[in-house]
Each structure stands twice: as C-alpha cells, then as structure tokens.
Subunit: 672 residues, 2 copies
C-alpha cells in the first residue's frame, strides 16, 4: 500500500485513523499479547463511522437512543478501546490502554460489556456479535413500534471479520435479519482474506456478497481504506429498506511489515517493526501519545451527539408519564408493581384447581397472566411453538407488517435465537424468553454461556426435559443438560414440579437483573403438588420441605426436582406405610438453595437421616446435596441416568430406568 | 396434486413409492407418534435414488465401497426404515416396522446408527446429517487417493429438509464442501416450504439455490414428484465436478388431507384420513401389507448392487496384501502392532528428557511419532493450527490438488469440524482428530454429544484448557467445560499432566473403538512429573499414585489433574516438610478410574486420610472422588473455580484464584 498517497489524499482522516493504529501498536506491545492487525486494518472504516454516522455522545454512553456499535470481531478489542479513549469516554483514560489485558483493567483481552458502559456486548467467540446485533435491531424495531420514532430511532452497526462469517451462527443471524427486513442493521465486513491459519482461501471459497444477497440483504463493495467510499456506503446503507452488508476490502495490519499475512493477525510486538510502521504512517509522537490536534478532533467527534441527545431528552419528556415510566422501568429491569400480586393470585387459583399438567403447559398458563403485566417481554421459539408453549394470546407476532408483535418465530435456529435474545436484553427495554427442546441446549450453548458471562437475564425455556419425552429417543432426550447449565457460573436452573412452582420460577426468572435462567419443563403431565397456598415464593429458597415425616421419626430424606417430585411423594407414602418417617424436599433450583444461609439449609436438610436424590438426569451436581461439600451428611444414594436414553413410550422408559416409587423406596431402605 | 395423473404417468414407480408412503402411514398410526409428512413427500426422490443410482447391496449393508445414504432430516426415519424393509435388509422385517418407536426396536424415533448396520449415522438434531456427510465425502476422497479408485469410489447422498438448511451448521458444512470441490456429495433438499410452526416463509426468505451457489455448489431445481426429472438430476449431479444440491419441490404428506400443511409434518394418525389417503394412492392392501409384485420389485432393487459388490471384492483382492491389511485393520479400528512399542519408546525417552512443556506441545510431540505409525489418522484444527499443535510434518494438507493430505484446515467452524469428523469416523477407515480452544466445546457440543451417542472414536483436541490461557480472558477461558464433557455418557476426558501422560492419553484415545475422547491440554508450560519409566499405561487406570507419603504416616491425599498436578506436588513437599504424610494422586481420566475394580480404587484412594482435590475448573464431577458416592470417605475439600475467569497474565490468575501450593496445603491442614 502507498501510505503516503492515502495520507495526502485525506490528511485529516489519516491522522485520526492513525491514532487508532498507533494506540493499538502501543497497547499490544505493552501487553506483549493481543491482536494488532484487525484494528489497524479497520481503522479507516471505524473512523468514518464514528466521525460521520454513528449517533453517540461519549459523555453519555448509556443514552437509550444512541446507535449501537458492535465489534463482532472481538479480538480486535483495541479498535474499540482506542475509539473510546480518543472520543473522550471517561472510563477509558490512557492508563486503561496502558493496562491492556492486565488484571482489573477495563481493557480486557476481548470486550466485556460488564466492564464499561460503552461496551454494548461481550465478543470474542466469533459470530456472537453479529448474532447479538440481530437482537439489537429487532429490539429497536419493537420499541420503535411501541414508543414511536421520536424516542426510538437508531441504527445497529457491526464490524465482523471472516471468522464471524464462517461460523454457522452468522448464517442463522443473517437469514433472520433478511427475513425481517432489519434495515437499520448495517454490517461492515472486514474483508482482509486472512485468518490465523493463513489466507481465507485455505478454508473458504464463499462468495460472501452473493451469500448475503441470497439472504435478502442489500450489499455494497468498497475499498475499506478510502474514506469517501466508506462514507458513501454508510450513507447508502442507512437509506436501504433491507439490512446492509458493506464488504470492506482491507489490508490487515496496514503499513506494518506483517501486513496482509496471518502473522499480522496476532500480536505485533517487534520494536523495530513497530517504529517502522509508525514512521510509514508519518506518526511522530511517543508511545501512547496522541498529538493534541488529533485528540481534539476526536473529542469533537465524541461530542457530535450532544445536541441530538439533548433534543431526544426533550422529546422523551413529551411522552405521557405512564409511557415514560414503563420505558424507564423496563430499561432498569425493574418489575412492574402488579407482577407480584398477579403471581400470588395465580398461585392461589392453581393451589385450588390443582391441575394435572405438563409443566410446559403450566408455563403457558403462567405466561398468559404475566405477559399482559409485563409489556417488555418478547417471546419466541425455535420452530417448536406448539411444543414449547411459549406463545400467548396477547403477544402478536413480530413481522415486517407488525413491528409491535412480541412473539418471534425464530425458525430452526436455536443458536441464532439465543444470541439474538441476548442482544435484545443487552439493547435494553426488553426481557426476552425463547424455547426449544432441552436437548438442544447443545446448539444454544455458546450464547447461553455468554448470557451468564455478560450478566443478562435472558430466559431459556427448555421443554421436553428428560427421557419423559418418550418416542423421539436419545437424540432428543436430555441426560446431561441439567448438569451442563448448573455447571455454568451465574446461571439459574429451575426445574419446577407443578403449576405453582412453575409460576414461582417464572416470577424469579422475570425479575432477575444480572443472570440468565433456564426453565426445565416436562413434556408429560404431572400431578399437582402444592395444595396449600402460600404467598411466599418457596422456589426462591431453592429447596424446601414439601412433605415431612408423619407419625414416626424422620429417617429418610428424599430430594427431588421437577417430574420426579411426585415419584418421591409416592415413595414417601409407601415408606410411611411401613412405619418409616420420610421427608420429601422439593429442589426446583440448586443455585438459589446454595445462596441460602446455613441455618435455612440445615433446617431443610438436617443430619441424621439417609438421603436419596432422584432426577431423570446424570448425578453430577447432586452430591453437594446428598453428601455435603465435606461429606459430613452420611449415607446417600441417587436415582438418575448414567447412560443415554432410548426410543419408547415415556412410562416404559421411566420404569426401565428405575424412576419408580418402588425403586426409590428400596434404595432408601437399603441405606437404613 | 392430481395423484391419478402421477400414478398413470409412471405406474411402476408410483407403486414402489406408494409402498413407502403406506408403510409410513401404518407405522406412525401403530406408534401413535412420529413424522409422516416427510417420508410421504420424499418417497419419489428416494425411490428413484435407490432404484437407479444408489450403489448398495441390501444383503451386505457394510460393503465398504457402497454409496452412503444419509437421512439428515432424521425425523422422517420411516422413509429409511421403509426402504430398508422393502429392499430386503434382514434387520428390518415387517415386525420391526410394526414396532416403530417401541422399546428395543431397531426402528427408533430417529435413525440410530448403532441399532442397525445399514443406518450410516444418527440423525434428528437438525443439520447434523448434512455436516456428517461432508466428513463422509472427505473420507472417500482421502481413501480413494490412498487406495485407488478401484477400491474406493462411491457417492454420499443426503436428504436434507428446510430445518437442516436453517441450522447454522449447514452453512459450515456446505462452505467446506464447496471449498474442497467434494463432487461426490449430492444433497437432495426436500423443498416443501413447511416447518413445524407453519410455512418456511414465517421464519425464512433465503434463496437456498443462490446460497449454495455462493458456496461454490452446482445446483439443480426439479419437481420432486417427477421420476424423470429426479433421475436426470441425479445423473447430472454425478457428473458434476462440484458438490451438487438438487432442490426438490415437494408436497409434504402428499395425498393426505394434511398435505402442504404443518400438521402434515407430524403424526398423521386419523384412521379415516389414513384410509382416504391410501385410496387416493390406489393402494388396496391392509396395514403393513405390500403387494407381492411391489415387494418383488423392491427386492430386485435391493440386489442391484450384488454384481458390483462381487466385482469390487475381486478388485480388492488384487491389492497388495499389506494394503489390504491396513484397509481392513483401519476399518475394524484395530491398532497397528507398532503402536504400543512406539508409545513405550517415546515414554522412555520423555521420562529421561523430562521436558518442561505445555501439554499441547507434548501432544504435538506425541503426534509426530504416532501419525507415521497410524496412516488412518486425519488431523485438523478450526483455524488454530499453531495453537492446537495438531499438525505434524508427515500429514500433508488435504486440498483439491492433494487428496492424500491428512491435515484439514477446517476454518473457523468448530461445529462443522466436529460433525464432519464424526462423519469420517462413521464412514470407516479413518480416525479423525481435530482441535480448537476448549472453551469452544460450546460450539462443537451438538456433534460431541452425537459422537458419544453414536459410539464413534472421534478425538477432540481441546487446548487452552483453563484460566491458564491468560490474557484472552473469560470468553476464552473454560471453567465448566471439563464438567460438561464428563457429564456426557460414553465420553472419555483426558487431562494429562506432562508429556508421558499425554502420550498415554493419545494411546488410549487412538485405540478406542466405541467412544470419543476429549483431550484437555494446556497453553502454558508444565514441569515434567513422570520421571521413572513404566511400560504400563498408568493413564489407562484413570488415576494412580504419583507420589506417596514418605517418612511419616499418610494423612492427606491430594488429587489433581493436568496443570494442577505440579501444584499438588509442590504442596506435598511443603506438607511433608512439616511432617505431614501426603499422597498425590494424578487423575488424568475420571471415567477410566470409575471403570477400575473396587480393589484398585481403594488402593489408590484408601480411607483414613483427608482429601483435597485441585483442578482449574468447577467442582461439579469431583465429589465422587472426594467424598465417595455414599459419602463414606470423610473430610474433603476442593480448590477450583466457582466463577468465570478474567483477562490477565496466567500466573497472576492462578494466584488470584488460589491455585498455589500454599493455598492447597492450607486447605489440607484445615481439614486435619
């Protein structure tokens, strides 16, 4: 590349873009790790975006109607950190950049949304950002439809790399965006033909432009180092009535000895090459030093949105008070006042009606009363609406001609759904929930983990939660999936046993602020358990005594969740009839039980009894409740699955694998 | 549809295809569950494929050079079962079809490869079949290059539905196939515009033909009910020098009242509608009865390949004996004689050299000696070759101009890689291994689970297996992923502590016949532990005494895996210096330790000592070894992770999270 020509053609632009490149080189050198090439290659695109298109106010990174900027190619985190520092974000003083990738810094190896206000989402696992962005753009459409264009009217801009586009989730994302004409979603593809292993062509010959067109996107191809072309493309994209993909032909590690090579993808720390690159840029200041005129120019850019934001605030104040309150309440993830009363009334009614229902059907009943109280919920399913029972009458279906619709037909895209739900939650103003079969936790995993890491309260509705789904067989029968979600930090797994516990689980899931929830729901009908109405949410304690020893001394504690609670209750009856005192503990949420104080936990699970756990899944995760963390509880056993299931009617499977009152009672007696 | 016109235009074809439809209706009605519409819609395509193109011999379903038929839309399992019954596969008598979806039947809800010889792969989780198929087709190319066209020369045919094509993994699969010109891969897309939730257009507007073209496929569009068009398309596809996608416009549940509706996707069990459909077909026999002439015609089709197979056997016999032996040995998954000696020699050398290495680097050393001994290995990485250390000098790179190459640059496609590796293993003749960062277990999960369910010995090389990867931060630091793989039935997770254990782990992984392995390897260097050479593979016992109490009575057992073994050894030294007797147990594979007899396990983990486990992951899965399944072991503790990691240099992270000899020793003393 002839850098001199680039610099002289657009000197103002060049110095601003070089600021990004220089900071990247310096920070990566200081950390002795990181990815230099991507920020250096996309500096021109990012500069034009921030200078001329992105609606933002660096002093108010949380302004609700800002444009969203998502760095899907998260390894290029220095691009974002440099932009935030240059535009004057007070959370990114130069010290943060000097501490790139060090303990406690906001400038983590990959952008982490919970470390700084201006970081919209956590990226790094490739493809997630672009898939989140679909949720951001959907959220904008939905909120615009509900609140009006004068308070919600912004774009979602994404920088995605070759890696993002190779990941399968990107296909789910772009076909969703294409289906829904998400015209305010603009993806800038860093088309540098380099991956870690070598040129992209080593592993891919895809015509990306044709691929996006096949997904009903508008596409534009430009030289990613020409600011005029970048500006024109962004202007054109903003006018399109389809989502737009701008293919930006770039040189990775522009101007460095490693330009256009896979070495350029990584950490460029060679001191001499670093100096040579800065010389080639015409950059004369020392490490982490930005010439005052360049810094000032960037700070002006950081203030570009001030007037817009102020005008927006004035417009927002003209909204009716109730709308404003709902908007702010949803954004703050606060529960509406009516929620608690609605749940209580529903529980009272269900305690009396005591319906025999599959918990997926219980869940639908709950949603029928909660969705009208929570206008911020957006539901959906990955093509299993009738099976996941996620759609309620009032929601309406989100579509190109009904942006107010609060139900999404996600199609057969569990991963895309989960990532987009995270995006909705990150956007703010929406509480997303979506369903699939629990076994397909596997497909959604990358996004489910990120929900937990990012601290967003996405709700994953996982029905058909065991061999109880029957004939579909082991490919569809989760065995290890409760353990998988329970192993994941900051994730609450709810496995309710009846309609009342299901309502309590939903109440908790829909009031979480910083954690995702997994609802584990049955396909098969379950007898009702909670006959006495209590206003308290017992599920909030994680576990509680559902039935205690009667008549004789307690010698056995049976601990069960979900569809096995009624088996434990039946085993209790058998044992009580033999004069053995039995307590049944319902344990709908291990994580919440773990959070209770010692006294409560000891009250529910006192010593001196043998314990048998029962759950139609693997034992992994149960020992803490059976044995205690230090093995102090004594004798225990477990009825669960230690193999994959089989294809047969559910009742036969439960018999075959020992989920019967007889077997459970026998296990308890064997311990006595 | 005018069924009479269809029937009269091609009466012989019609009666054969109707046999599939009638059996489907009968089996689903008998089971009162299942999916009728897909087999009914694709019966014409399948009939022409089996009658005129598929190279197979129903009496010899395992003939190595057969064409492979993969039903990616696995919910349409009755299509496959009907074809196998009709063509005379002896594992599918009519009783099997009458027992569709019942306990112990081969006719499970979704096709399960381990239940019958003719079922090539397990499908149901959508998109997996088409992604497996890429591996099948690659395996064919590689084996053809190595053994010659006269013994390896077959096609891979796939039936895929809308669901398969919506799943992201399908994009990874088709772009891989397009990259490598896998011209013998032919996908028949069941283009019926119906999903469970409604018409495909509810959730997708993708131009699939354009999408496949963008991925460098040949495409053909046909009427999926016209046998002439089907035949012509398959003929054209077989001549193409690219992979071919045939878009077959079909009517789901053809001829049934539910035709062209999402109801038609499911179980069509209404007795009157069933009778009406059979009448419309002109089908006059009772349930599960096939007219003799139709059955005979199908059985002739089942014998079409006999001459081909016999000719192939003769050709195979002309191969040099050593080639035949290697071919058969690899197909049988038997280890070569030299393997064991090679591992022993390597271990001896390493015990002496005692290199300080990251186990990912140890792994590369091992592969350098094993790949030359095992011509059946095919390695690869999802764009992290230099980080996963999976490429060795002898392999050569698989490419369009080097089909002999045994190394695959999979690109940024963890899920596609894992599914395709499964396909290679299922094809037979190849032992695939492939690498990514352990955290991206999440992306590969659906295929990793299926490897275990399908009983194939795919090896997943998961490097950067803890916070020890350092600065890349929590998005890249696995915390729960050891637990995830350990929770999965029939999966062996190896976490070696040094080069010797790494060699032992590889020896075990590469001799597995029915189970996948996960190798958990470090980014960071580890001190060598196994200084005394033993010919026995100690890792095969799952856990063993690495160092015992010396001088004083044993009061503490420290149990560790992988990168924490040296921490346990250092803690032991500290405690021994204080006069406390300490045993260190290295536990590279929990699953193998669980398989040892009680006597061995008691010898390694006797009672009477306090136990502390240490592993840079969540505790889930450890309690069995710390506390015993019934809590009989007494006092125990654990040093692990109960939160996500952070971005910082590795040593600082290990300090911060307590993975130090000091902390471990303190935990042990607190228990004493």
């Amino acid at each position: 590349m002839d850098l001199t020509a680039l610099a002289s053609a657009h000197p103002d632009h060049w110095s601003k873009a070089t600021g990004i490149r220089a900071l990247t080189l310096d920070a990566v050198a200081a950390a002795n790790s990181g990815h230099s090439g991507m920020p250096m290659g996309m500096a021109d695109v990012a500069t034009v975006l921030f200078e001329k298109h992105l609606k933002f106010d660096a002093a108010n990174p949380l302004w609700p109607d800002r444009d969203r900027f998502i760095l899907s190619a998260g390894h290029g985190s220095m691009l974002l950190y440099a932009l935030l520092h240059l535009t004057g974000d007070t959370q990114f003083p130069i010290e943060e950049l000097k501490n790139f990738r060090q303990m406690g810094a906001r400038t983590a190896g990959h952008p982490e949304n919970f470390l700084a206000d201006a970081i919209e989402t956590t990226t790094g696992p490739l493809g997630q950002g672009i898939a989140n962005a679909v949720g951001f753009a959907m959220a904008e459409e939905i909120l615009r439809a509900h609140y009006g264009k004068k308070v919600v009217d912004h774009h979602t801009y994404v920088i995605a790399g070759d890696g993002c586009l190779m990941e399968g989730v990107s296909q789910e994302a772009i076909t969703l965006a294409g289906r829904h004409d998400l015209s305010k979603l603009i993806v800038m593809w860093d088309n540098n033909n380099i991956t870690i292993d070598g040129p992209v062509t080593l592993s891919d010959h895809t015509d990306q432009v044709a691929r996006f067109q096949a997904a009903q996107w508008h596409t534009i191809e430009i030289d990613g180092h020409n600011p005029d072309e970048i500006d024109a493309a962004l202007t054109e994209a903003r006018k399109s009535d389809k989502p737009t993909m701008i293919a930006c032909k770039t040189h990775i590690a522009l101007g460095h000895a490693a330009q256009d090579t896979s070495k350029g993808h990584g950490a460029l720390t060679d001191p001499e090459q670093l100096i040579a690159a800065k010389e080639a840029y015409g950059w004369k200041t020392g490490p982490f030093e930005i010439p005052q005129d360049v810094k000032s120019a960037w700070e002006e850019i950081g203030k570009r949105g001030v007037a817009d934001r102020e005008a927006w605030e004035e417009r927002f104040d003209t909204l009716p008070r109730s709308k404003r309150e709902t908007f702010n309440r949803a954004l703050a993830l606060d529960a509406p006042r009516k929620l608690s009363a609605t749940v209580k009334a529903f529980k009272r009614q269900m305690s009396e009606a005591a319906p025999k229902l599959a918990t997926r059907a219980s869940s639908e009943k709950v949603l029928e009363v909660l969705n009208p109280v929570l206008p911020e919920t957006v539901g959906g399913s990955a093509d299993l609406t009738g099976s996941n029972n996620t759609k309620t009458a009032d929601l309406g279906v989100f579509d190109t001609d009904n942006r107010k619709g609060r139900y999404i037909y996600w199609g057969i895209r569990e991963h895309g759904m989960a990532s987009a739900m995270n995006g909705m939650a990150l956007h703010g103003g929406i509480r997303p929930y979506g369903g699939t079969f629990m076994c397909f936790t596997d497909y959604a995993r990358p996004a489910m983990r990120l929900a937990a890491l990012m601290k967003v309260p996405t709700v994953f509705v996982m029905t058909h939660d065991s061999i109880g789904l029957g004939e579909d067989g082991p490919t569809h029968q989760p065995v290890e999936h409760l353990a998988i979600s329970r192993a994941t930090p900051n994730t609450y797994v709810f496995r309710p046993c009846d309609t009342v516990e299901t309502a309590e689980s939903w109440e908790l899931a829909l009031t979480m602020k910083e954690s995702p929830s997994v609802l584990s729901l049955t396909r098969q009908g379950l007898p009702h358990q909670r006959h006495e109405h209590k206003n308290t949410n017992l599920t909030a304690r994680g576990a509680y005594v559902l039935a205690d020893a009667e008549g004789s001394k307690r010698r056995v504690i049976l601990i069960a969740s979900g569809s096995e609670v009624h088996v434990a209750m039946a085993a209790r009856e058998q044992l009580q009839a033999e004069g053995i005192g039995v307590r049944v503990v319902s344990m709908p949420c291990m994580e919440l039980f773990a959070e209770q104080d010692d006294a409560y936990r000891k009250r529910v699970l006192p010593g001196g009894s043998v314990r048998v756990g029962i759950e139609a899944g693997v034992r992994q995760g149960w020992d803490r409740w059976l044995l205690g963390e230090r093995g102090k509880f004594g004798k225990a056993d477990f009825v669960g699955m230690d193999r994959f299931g089989a294809s047969a009617p559910a009742e036969e499977l439960f018999d075959k694998f020992g989920f019967t009152a007889e077997n459970l009672a026998a296990k308890a007696k064997a311990l006595l």
